[in-house]
C-alpha cells in the first residue's frame, strides 16, 4: 500500500540532493524540449511538403483512368468525366480542383527543339488548383477558355527555344491515330523562380489539346482538400462515387518518390527523437542507480521493516514520476518556445536552398512553419514521464534485489 507517508518519503527524497534533482529535471526538460521542437519541425515540414506536392499539380487526390496507376500513359482518358466532376462537387472539404489531360510532344522554333509534356488545362480552374499558375509571374497573359492556338510556356523553356510572347511555336505531338502537328501562338511566358519548373511548363487549353491530339476529354481531375489529413476519408468517399473504369488515387501514388522522401524525413526525425529519449533515459537511469547505491542501507532497513519489492519499485517510480513531471514542464516551456518561434517566424528555406525553392517539378514554400498546438503539452509530458519511468525500472529492480543482511553488515 502506498499512502501519504510513502509519498512524502518519495518527494522529500528528491530534496536530499537538490543539485542532482535539478540537473535531472533540466536534462529531462532539454531532452523533451528538443523532442517537441523536432516534432514541430517534422510536422510543419511534412505539412508544407504535402501542400507543395499537392498544389504543384498532384492534388491531394486524383481521379484517373483505372489503368493509369499501372501504365502511367498519357494516352488514357477518363471513362465519364461529367460524373467524376459531379462526384468531386459533392465531396465535402474540397478547396479546388483542376481538370487536365497530357500528351508528349516536341516544341520547335527554327532549329531549336525541346521535348515536353503538354498539359491541356481548364484555365479558370487551373489558377485555383495549381501554385505554378498562382504564384508565377507572367509575361503576357495566362490562358482563357476561349483561346485557340494559344500556349503558355515556362521562362527556361522560352529561353531554350529562343521565343518571346507573340512568337509562334511549331508543335509536334502524339495523336490518337498518328503524329499530329500545329502552330501555337505564345500568349504568355511564366516564371516561377525555379528553372526546373520553368523548363517543364507548357499549357494549352484542354479543348485545344483535344482538337490537336484527337484524344477526347480529360485524363485527370486533381483535387485539393482544405485539410491534407482528410486524404483517407476523402479517398474513401470519392472511391465510392467515381464511375467504374476510373479510379481515385492519393498524392502518394501520383508521386511515390516524393512521398517516400517525406516519410524518410519524418522517420529520421522520429529516430532522432528516439535517440534523444534514450539518452535522457540513460542519464536518469544513471542518476537513479546512484540514488539506489547511496540509499542501499536505508533500502535494506525498509526491507527489514517489511517493505516488499513492489513497494520499493513504486517509491522509486514516484521519485522518477516527479522528475518526469517537472522535466515535462521544463520541456514544454523550452520546446514550446522553440515551436512557437517555428510556427510564427518559421525557417527561411530560400536562405538555405537559394532562389531555387523547388524539387523537380514541385514548388516548395519559401518558409517552413512548425506545427504548434495543444499536442505540445501531452507530448512533452508523455516523453518526459515515460522516459523517466522506464529509466527507473532498472535501478528499482536493483533496489529490490538488495539483500538486507548483507547491506546492513557493511
Amino acid at each position: 500500500m502506498i499512502g501519504h507517508v510513502s509519498l512524502k518519503y518519495a518527494v522529500r527524497s528528491l530534496l536530499r540532493n537538490p543539485r542532482r534533482t535539478i540537473l535531472s529535471i533540466i536534462g529531462v526538460g532539454i531532452g523533451s524540449g528538443i523532442a517537441v521542437f523536432a516534432m514541430s519541425w517534422i510536422g510543419g515540414a511534412r505539412e508544407m511538403e504535402i501542400r507543395a506536392v499537392a498544389e504543384s499539380g498532384c492534388g491531394h487526390l486524383r481521379i484517373v483512368p483505372a489503368d493509369w496507376p499501372d501504365r502511367r500513359e498519357n494516352t488514357l482518358r477518363l471513362e465519364n468525366p461529367t460524373k467524376a466532376i459531379a462526384a468531386v462537387d459533392a465531396l465535402a472539404g474540397v478547396r479546388a480542383y483542376g481538370v487536365r489531360a497530357r500528351v508528349n510532344g516536341l516544341l520547335a522554333m527554327g532549329n531549336r527543339t525541346a521535348g515536353v509534356e503538354i498539359a491541356g488545362v481548364v484555365p479558370e480552374l487551373e489558377a485555383g488548383a495549381s501554385r505554378i499558375v498562382q504564384k508565377a509571374t507572367i509575361e503576357g497573359r495566362y490562358l482563357t477558355r476561349e483561346d485557340t492556338d494559344a500556349v503558355v510556356i515556362g521562362r527556361t523553356l522560352a529561353k531554350r527555344l529562343g521565343v518571346e510572347v507573340d512568337d509562334s511555336l511549331f508543335v509536334t505531338l502524339v495523336g490518337r491515330d498518328e503524329i499530329q502537328s500545329a502552330m501555337l501562338n505564345v500568349v504568355g511566358i511564366l516564371e516561377t523562380g525555379s528553372r526546373d519548373v520553368d523548363a517543364m511548363v507548357c499549357h494549352v487549353t484542354l479543348d485545344e489539346l483535344e482538337r490537336v491530339s484527337g484524344f477526347p476529354g480529360p485524363a485527370e481531375i486533381s483535387i485539393l482538400l482544405d485539410d491534407y489529413r482528410r486524404v483517407d476519408a476523402g479517398w474513401a468517399a470519392l472511391a465510392e462515387a467515381v464511375p467504374q473504369g476510373d479510379a481515385v488515387i492519393t498524392w502518394k501514388e501520383v508521386n511515390p518518390a516524393f512521398a517516400a522522401s517525406i516519410e524518410g524525413d519524418a522517420g529520421f526525425g522520429r529516430l532522432l527523437i528516439g535517440i534523444i529519449v534514450i539518452v535522457v533515459a540513460l542519464g536518469i537511469a544513471s542518476a537513479q542507480l546512484t540514488v539506489v547505491l547511496e540509499r542501499r542501507t536505508e533500502l535494506a532497513i525498509l526491507s527489514a521493516l517489511g517493505m516488499k519489492g513492489r513497494q520499493v519499485v513504486i517509491l522509486l517510480a514516484i521519485e522518477s514520476f516527479v522528475i518526469g513531471l517537472a522535466g515535462g514542464v521544463t520541456g514544454m516551456l523550452l520546446g514550446g518556445a522553440g515551436a512557437y518561434y517555428l510556427a510564427t517566424i518559421g525557417i527561411d528555406i530560400e536562405a538555405i536552398m537559394g532562389d531555387e525553392v523547388a524539387v523537380g517539378d514541385i514548388m516548395l514554400d519559401p518558409h517552413v512553419y512548425g506545427a504548434f498546438g495543444w499536442w505540445i503539452v501531452w507530448f512533452a509530458f508523455g516523453i518526459s514521464v515515460v522516459a523517466t519511468l522506464a529509466a527507473s525500472l532498472y535501478p528499482a529492480r536493483m533496489a529490490t534485489r538488495i539483500e538486507p543482511a548483507r547491506a546492513l553488515r557493511k
Partner: protein, 243 residues
C-alpha cells in the same frame, strides 16, 4: 497472529551459516540450538565474530541459514518465499539497529507511521503512532527529523517504530552501543517496560554489560556455537520475579 503465554516463538536446531568470500568460506554459525519463548528478555552475548548478528539476521528472516532448522512463530524460515519473509517481518517482528537507522527525510511521527502504513493500517495509523510516541515519552519530538534528535532520542524513536506494529518479537542488534550510560539505561528501562506490560519478547545481540544486567536470560555464543545458556535466578519468563 496471536501468541499464547510461554509459547515457543523461535526454535533453532543445528543452525549453520557459512559466508562465501571468494575462495574463502567463513563459518559464522556451527550448529546453534536455541529456543525462545514468548515474554523473554534475552541477550545473546559473545565476542566479536562469535555469530551474534548472524543469528539475529537469520531469526529476523533477513538472511537464510546454510543448514539446520529455524522456526519462527511456527514457520520454517527456509521454506518461506521472499515475500512471505517480508510479511513475517512486517507483521510479527520488530527491529532495532545499532545505528538507529531512522529514515532521515521523515519526522519521528512519520517514521513510526511508515511501518503502520506498510502494514496497511488505515487512517487510524496517525493516532496509533502518536500514542506509541506518547507512551515512550517522545511526544515533544514527534515533528522532528532524525538529524534534529540526539542519539538516545533517535534510538527511542527506533524502538517506537519497532513496537508500533505490535510485533511478537523485537530483535535489537547492539541497541546501546552508541549511547552514553544515561541514555542506555533509559532505553533499556523503556524496553523492559514494554516487555513486562505488553508482553513483547526482546532478543538482544550485545556485549554491553548494561544490557546483560537487564536481561533475564543470557545466551553466550563462542565460535558460532552456544557455549552457555543462563537463566538468571532472579527472573522467570514473563517477569514473574524481577531483579
Amino acid at each position: 497472529m496471536t501468541v499464547r503465554e510461554n509459547e515457543v516463538l523461535l526454535r533453532a536446531h543445528g543452525l549453520t551459516k557459512v559466508y562465501h568470500a571468494g575462495k574463502i568460506d567463513a563459518q559464522a554459525l556451527r550448529g546453534v540450538d536455541l529456543e525462545v519463548r514468548s515474554g523473554e528478555f534475552l541477550a545473546i552475548v559473545g565476542p566479536s565474530g562469535s555469530g551474534k548478528t548472524t543469528l539475529l539476521n537469520l531469526v529476523g528472516a533477513l538472511d537464510t541459514a546454510t543448514s539446520g532448522q529455524l522456526e519462527v512463530l511456527g514457520k520454517e524460515i527456509s521454506k518461506m518465499s521472499r515475500r512471505e519473509r517480508a510479511d513475517l517481518r512486517l507483521h510479527a517482528l520488530g527491529f532495532v539497529f545499532q545505528a538507529y537507522n531512522l529514515v532521515p527525510v521523515l519526522t519521528a511521527q512519520e517514521n513510526v507511521e511508515f511501518v503502520l502504513e506498510l502494514q496497511g493500517v488505515g487512517l487510524e495509523r496517525r493516532a496509533r503512532a502518536g500514542d506509541v510516541l506518547n507512551r515512550l515519552g517522545l511526544e515533544e519530538f514527534a515533528t522532528r527529523r532524525p538529524n534534529e534528535l540526539s542519539g538516545g532520542q533517535q534510538q527511542r524513536v527506533a524502538v517506537a517504530r519497532a513496537v508500533a506494529s505490535k510485533p511478537k518479537l523485537v530483535l535489537a542488534d547492539e541497541p546501546t552501543a552508541n549511547l552514553d550510560g544515561e541514555n542506555a539505561e533509559s532505553l533499556l528501562a523503556m524496553m523492559r517496560a514494554l516487555n513486562e506490560h505488553d508482553g513483547i519478547t526482546f532478543v538482544f545481540s550485545t556485549h554491553d554489560p548494561r544490557v546483560i544486567a537487564h536481561a533475564r536470560r543470557v545466551v553466550t555464543l563462542v565460535d558460532g556455537r552456544v557455549a552457555r545458556d543462563e537463566q538468571k535466578e532472579c527472573c522467570t519468563v514473563n517477569g514473574a520475579a524481577k531483579a
